[in-house]
Symmetry: C2
Subunit: 511 residues, 2 copies
């Protein structure tokens, strides 16, 4: 007997279509909710018809193979990697002894999984994109049928590698966990005020001076390449954020004259403010830097930040004051900010990239390309903002309710789970402009020691909200599935923290 | 040149006397407070005179040896283990190449550390106790002199292995971290409602039926023995808590008739309440169980719990109602609770153990042995409770302000740090009865995946409050030392989470 998995497109392939049931959860325990009829499926697929009939998967002879109709070529390394990964998830990394290798399959055994890819890219060399088709269908596995596709196309996690440096190993582990939760965007907030760990080929002094340490706390070009490829193999886009003109203190250490000198009265105070928007050198620097970034990061989008610009330093600087006067900006420094951003957007447009920006850039009335993604993050008036952004015709993603760096005692995953991204007032056309959301884990209080358990399974709640149908809102059913899902993450080596008093059949093996 | 370390007593020995300075913390970073003149010392010793003169410690030839005056015998394995541990902390686990082994020490080198023990126990076989002398003096190390002793004798961490099972590895790692923070009591809240992981030789069915899993989620006698010995080598007492009569749901699974059957009207509802206090079989069971416990756990104290007894089930049961009438208790079920506890205390007294109990037992007026330790945990009227307990002449430990399972966004270590345990009204004699405190990490939301970073360095704040002088309260100085101390924990393999935006010279190597 064989099972067929048909994928509309190569990307994410097997990675997004999985789910098995663990039977070891103690059903007697009064603290555990009722088991879900969907077992441990997470995020819940769009259509599932569960059957009680079960088949054996013989580890010694079981195969995952390309279906004969599949468009995938024999050297599609993405699929080869996925087959290995899922074989190991199913059977562990070593074949169990006791099976005869070429034994014929018994009547209740599934001997192989045929993977039928319908993408045109037979060599699987392309990168995932916003328009990648992530739908898939499962047929004849335990007589259960699954037909699946995501509700939103952009389902991201923001990690911040500036406030604390995150070793490669931590990033890779979290990409792995993202794949297990059908996240498809790694928003890499790579640099910020505290440190500049991105090793630029064009401006190596940026990390030499601006990283916490020039050798041990940087991402080399090889590191970045590896992270992008690791992500690609799991259907995950990598969107880097180079946030300007604020959040750039660390940039100033390696790039003279980039930041605005702040004044105390009539003399420079020795401290610096945002990027200096009145110098030509600033724009020639940005042109070179973003030219490099656009070739290092293959995704069609780059995130340009633009949030939380503090005007006090600009205000103190006499040269800036003169410039404001010349330009007729009066005392409205948001006009100066827009002036800078507008020039930056034009520069980035020449690199053939689309851009994402934090909501302030839109709020300040900067002229944006039609394909701009406006990132809504502020906690107040969220629905009003979503309404305004979509009314103006821009695509948008939501993060306001999903700042996972904020912690509190208890089951806060429920709060993230209950969010409905389309609850704002607007037309159907406006709703369609909401392409997804991102869970943000800002780095003030997390590093390699605690990031992974703080992110998972809290981000899993966001994953289901962004993937599954709008109507999937039963907290009790979610609790049951998510408990099992988190144990599955733990069994696969991800230290996902517990939802509540409970146990996993296989507890985490680390410390 | 040699350095001498004189210890008043063997226990804790080298383990509690250490501290080195890392110079890699970025002093330019505006987010980092001023460095402390005490470097990374944590908890701060009672008396330190710092010198700027520094000496080299040559890893190839450096020795830690018994001073000739030392009372420690040649087979004192506690010291041998401590020497190895500290050698590895100083130089890493392998000798670095490039040094000539028998090279004579240069003028600015320290060739050996002489450890002078003044304890009578030359074989170091004894267990730490409440009265262990933990004082020590350092002479001639970098010309810095340290004279040290703890402010409080009981400095504990409570871990809960019932709500989530904690693998041995996690417990050992946290004992290691405790030693690095001069904690000297592991309060092992080993069983509770959700599970009974203690494998009893006398009543093996308790864990067979009551553990999350009878093989993978239990502590065998060998496990318990290893944990106690691992703790002993680090000067840490292990005080087990077997909490009754409430918090015993898991006990009922393996021990028929131990719990009170609850009634719904005139018929048993099928659910059970606290331990049944009216049956003789209850007390014969407790006699056998605590007889075993008293021999398995060498410490002079056992914690008997006694907190949060819910009376509703007792009230529903007609047999209990009759018993109440017979005894003339009226409707005062706290009298029934006291009746039970009194009998239990008498049983435990015959095992030659002292006992600790949660504050309710004292509050209910149960007659206690003079050496009883009353454990104050409730959040309301803490000072009043401390006053009452000490007025009644009992020794007490404080936990109310240190429930580390409660989390919030930001630097909550400061809140723990600012507590002054002796701030209640009372005589000097009353203050002396406060023998210390415990940081409690209840298990609802922590297991192997997140326990260690959640506990450290937040518990380190409690460690300094309980060890150092009352006057050590400078938050800014503490921030600087604690930041470096947490990096030291990380370098030694403990995933202690960051205080705030920062970096460590050696980031955590795990995920």
């Amino acid at each position: 007997m064989s099972a067929t998995l048909r994928l509309a497109l190569l990307l994410l392939a097997v990675a997004v279509c999985q789910g098995y049931q663990s039977n070891d959860i103690d059903e007697e325990d009064e603290l555990v909710y009722e088991p879900s009829k969907y077992g441990s499926l997470w995020p819940l697929p769009q259509k599932v018809r569960v059957s009680e009939v079960s088949f054996k998967l013989p580890s010694a002879s079981f195969k995952i193979v390309d279906a004969k109709e599949s468009s995938a070529g024999p050297s599609c390394s993405l699929l080869q990697n996925a087959y290995r990964r899922y074989y190991e998830y199913m059977f562990g990394s070593v074949r169990k002894p006791g099976y005869v290798k070429s034994r014929a399959a018994g009547p209740s055994e599934i001997s192989e999984l045929q993977v039928w890819i319908t993408s045109a890219d037979s060599e699987c060399d392309s990168y995932p994109s916003l328009t990648s088709d992530e739908s898939c269908e499962f047929k004849n596995i335990n007589s259960t049928t699954i037909s699946d596709f995501p509700r939103f196309a952009h389902r991201g996690i923001l990690l911040d590698t500036s406030r604390h440096f995150l070793p490669i190993k931590v990033i890779l582990a979290n990409l792995e966990a993202m794949a297990m939760n059908k996240f498809n965007v790694f928003h890499w907030h790579i640099v910020d005020d505290p440190s500049f760990p991105y090793l630029s080929r064009t401006f190596p002094q940026l990390s030499q001076q601006g990283a916490y340490h020039p050798y041990t706390h940087v991402y080399t070009p090889a590191d970045v390449k590896m992270i992008i490829e690791f992500a690609r193999l799991r259907g995950i886009r990598v969107i880097p954020e180079f946030d300007t003109p604020g959040h750039t203190q660390s940039w100033g250490k390696g790039q003279k004259d980039l930041l605005t000198p702040c004044y105390s009265g009539t003399t420079p105070s020795g401290t610096f403010g945002p990027v200096n928007p009145i110098l030509n050198t600033t724009y020639s620097f940005m042109r070179q830097l973003f030219s490099e970034i656009s070739s290092v990061f293959p995704d069609a989008y780059v995130h340009l930040g633009g949030d939380e610009v503090d005007f006090s330093c600009w205000r103190s600087n006499p040269d800036i004051q003169n410039f404001m006067e010349q330009q007729g900006f009066g005392q409205d420094y948001s006009k100066l900010e827009s002036f800078y951003i507008q020039k930056l957007l034009d520069i980035v447009t020449t690199t053939q990239k689309g851009y994402m920006i934090w909501q302030e850039v839109f709020d300040n009335g900067v002229k944006l390309k039609p394909d701009t993604v406006v990132h809504v993050w502020m906690g107040n008036r969220v629905e009003e903002e979503m309404q305004n952004v979509t009314e103006a015709g821009y695509t948008t993603i939501l993060s306001s309710p999903w700042y996972l760096d904020y912690i509190s005692y208890g089951q806060d995953w429920q709060k993230y789970y209950k969010v409905e991204p389309l609850s704002f007032k607007g037309t159907e056309a406006q709703k369609k402009l909401v392409i997804g959301g991102e869970a943000c884990l800002w780095g003030e209080y997390v590093d390699a020691t605690n990031l992974t358990p703080r992110l998972w399974p809290r981000a899993s709640a966001v994953a289901e909200r962004l993937w599954s149908a709008k109507e999937v809102t039963d907290i009790s059913d979610a609790y049951s599935r998510l408990s099992m899902h988190r144990c599955r993450l733990v069994e696969r080596g991800i230290p996902a923290e517990p939802l509540f008093t409970s146990f996993c059949p296989h507890e985490y093996k680390g410390v």
